[in-house]
Amino acid sequence: MPRLWILLAAAALLRAQSGADLAAFDQVWTTIRDTHWQKDAPGGLDWNAMRAEYRPRVEAAKSTAEARAAMQEMLRRLGQTHFGIVGGYSPSDEGGGSGTTGIDLRVLNNEVVVTAVDPGSPAERAGVRTGWAVRAVNGRALTIPTLPELQLTRAMLARVSGPVGGTLHIAFDKAELDIELAAARGTLAEFGNLPPTRVWYEERRLGGTAYVRFNVFLDILRLIPSFDRTLKACKPCDGLIIDLRGNPGGIGGMAMGMAGFLVNKPNQRLGTMYTRDAALNFVINPRPPVFEGPVAVLLDGTSASTAEIFAGGLQDLGRARIFGTRSAAAALPSILTTLPNGDGFQYAVAGYVSQGGKALEGEGVAPDEEVLRTRQGLLAGQDAVLDAALDWIRKR
């Protein structure tokens, strides 16, 4: 019904929307002026000059998309992650909202390779196996752009998703399959202005070692008790592997909350967040009974934000050994809010330095043992990163 009203009142809306876009710009510009931790020059920029340059462009924009593009360009010039405009955003939208085949993939040696297949997913039912290379989707060849791993992986995953209930014809190098698109696995979780997001938690035993993997640091009331239960059941066990490959982060406080199950000494810190007014330490409260065994964390270039805060802090404290490849280097605490024109606005409110002194933004977490997955290994059903972590735990 509101959409119908929009059609009927299109002319009036154009003027109203122009005002809303300008109000959105003012909110974006003012928010950064008032909250950015680099008070005098956010991102090294003359912020007043940015307003003088971009406000007229937003004012002259012929559409919200054009106004949004101008605002995005201004934010990109900050040169920092966690700043962005989410077009047509509504807190009531379901996150992603689109269907998935249930495959995870990475670009390995210039090939788009299946690295995991969700249990019970359409891809698993269709017989897709790890190690297969995706060549084309619905007849369109998969070209690989030059992007950092996080964005590249998201772009490739977007190609193998679509509306729930639809079907994709995917040409793998081993087979051509029609695969249906289903809702992503997990349970919908809500947190403030974030779109409802599906959260899943997976645990299993690999011999005497506990292995956990979860897709995002959200859903405090389900994820933290699940982690607690995994650790309580891990007695006796040789060690713990936390697989954060593909985990984009989430609620920053969860890094401290989950570390509390692994660190038994009070007042230990994962790192420090620097806002404009204060330096806030990410302090860990031990949550007895604390798991005392060896901990391995698996990372890759798609592990971001809270995943980096968690892994980097535990590494600096000597509490975890990191396996895999360098993380995404995108670790700024941020807020997502709504703008007068209906768009979402994500903005970072602080810098962050890990306990060992590393600025995770731009540097990321370097693994203690760099291990690369290979297509040959995946085809053989192996995960070289996981195997290296298991080997380290066994040797201890």
Partner: protein, 244 residues
């Protein structure tokens, strides 16, 4: 004129005018009177306040219940969707916190001292017990309301500055540096929508700004002298475990 000279001149100017300001003691006593007077405060032995807590910028809103009883028993229970329980309390000198996110801990040092001050029942009426030194340092308008600035220095912790309305004697703003587990946090609180409960005027809207965030607490009801079971203030088992 260099910066030091300018500072000296400004300090001198402040000093000269400070001599004409009302004493901090008289302003704080006036505040107690304006909010109901000592006798009204003395009529309160317990309070149960219910309301909401909201971080509008993040789209987060939850509920809060604050239990307080003489002499210094205190418990705040917040339930926030997506975050879960946030509990903090004081009993018999033990100040603690328990959250679904971070687990349990016992406060110490300056943070504990601040929690004990906050837990002191009818703390406004007994400000002389809580602060070693109070001083009127100037005048300032807060949102167009002319106020006196009173700096209150406790035995432990940093000084707090309260802005008291010249017209009504009521508190309008408080600035302080809060000691938290994560570090010292400059904060500003605005008080508004005063309402009377059991003969005492209380601000029912408190807007706190710190670390670039704004949190609004709204009290919807305050039940005075409600029966609160003594066990209500007991330390939760997780806190007892953390204490041990």
């Amino acid at each position: 004129m260099n910066r030091r000279t300018l500072l000296t001149v400004l300090c001198a100017a402040t000093w000269a005018s400070a001599a004409d300001l009302p004493s901090a003691e008289s302003l704080l006593d006036r505040f107690v009177e304006a909010t109901g007077g000592k006798q009204a405060y003395a009529g309160h032995q317990t309070e149960v306040a219910r309301g909401t807590v909201e971080m509008a910028a993040m789209g987060i809103k939850g509920t809060l219940v604050r239990y307080a009883a003489e002499p210094d028993h205190y418990l705040v229970v917040m339930e926030i969707p997506g975050i879960g329980r946030v509990l903090s309390g004081v009993k018999d000198g033990v100040a603690w916190e328990l959250t679904d996110l971070m687990g349990a801990r016992v406060k110490s040092g300056v943070e504990r001292a601040e929690a004990l001050r906050e837990a002191r029942f009818n703390s406004y009426a007994v400000w002389r017990d809580l602060y070693l030194k109070v001083e009127t340092t100037g005048e300032e308008a807060v949102d167009g309301e002319d106020c006196y600035k009173v700096v209150m220095t406790p035995a432990e912790g940093s000084a707090e500055t309260v802005y008291l309305s010249k017209a009504t004697g009521l508190g309008v703003k408080l600035t302080l540096t809060a000691s938290t587990q994560m570090g010292d946090l400059p904060a500003e609180m605005r008080f508004g929508d005063y309402k009377r409960f059991g003969g005492v005027l209380m601000p029912t809207r408190l807007t706190e700004r710190s670390a670039g965030q704004e949190i609004v607490f709204v009290l919807e009801s305050v039940e005075v002298n409600a029966a609160i079971p003594a066990t209500q203030f007991d330390l939760p088992p997780e806190v007892t475990a953390a204490r041990n």
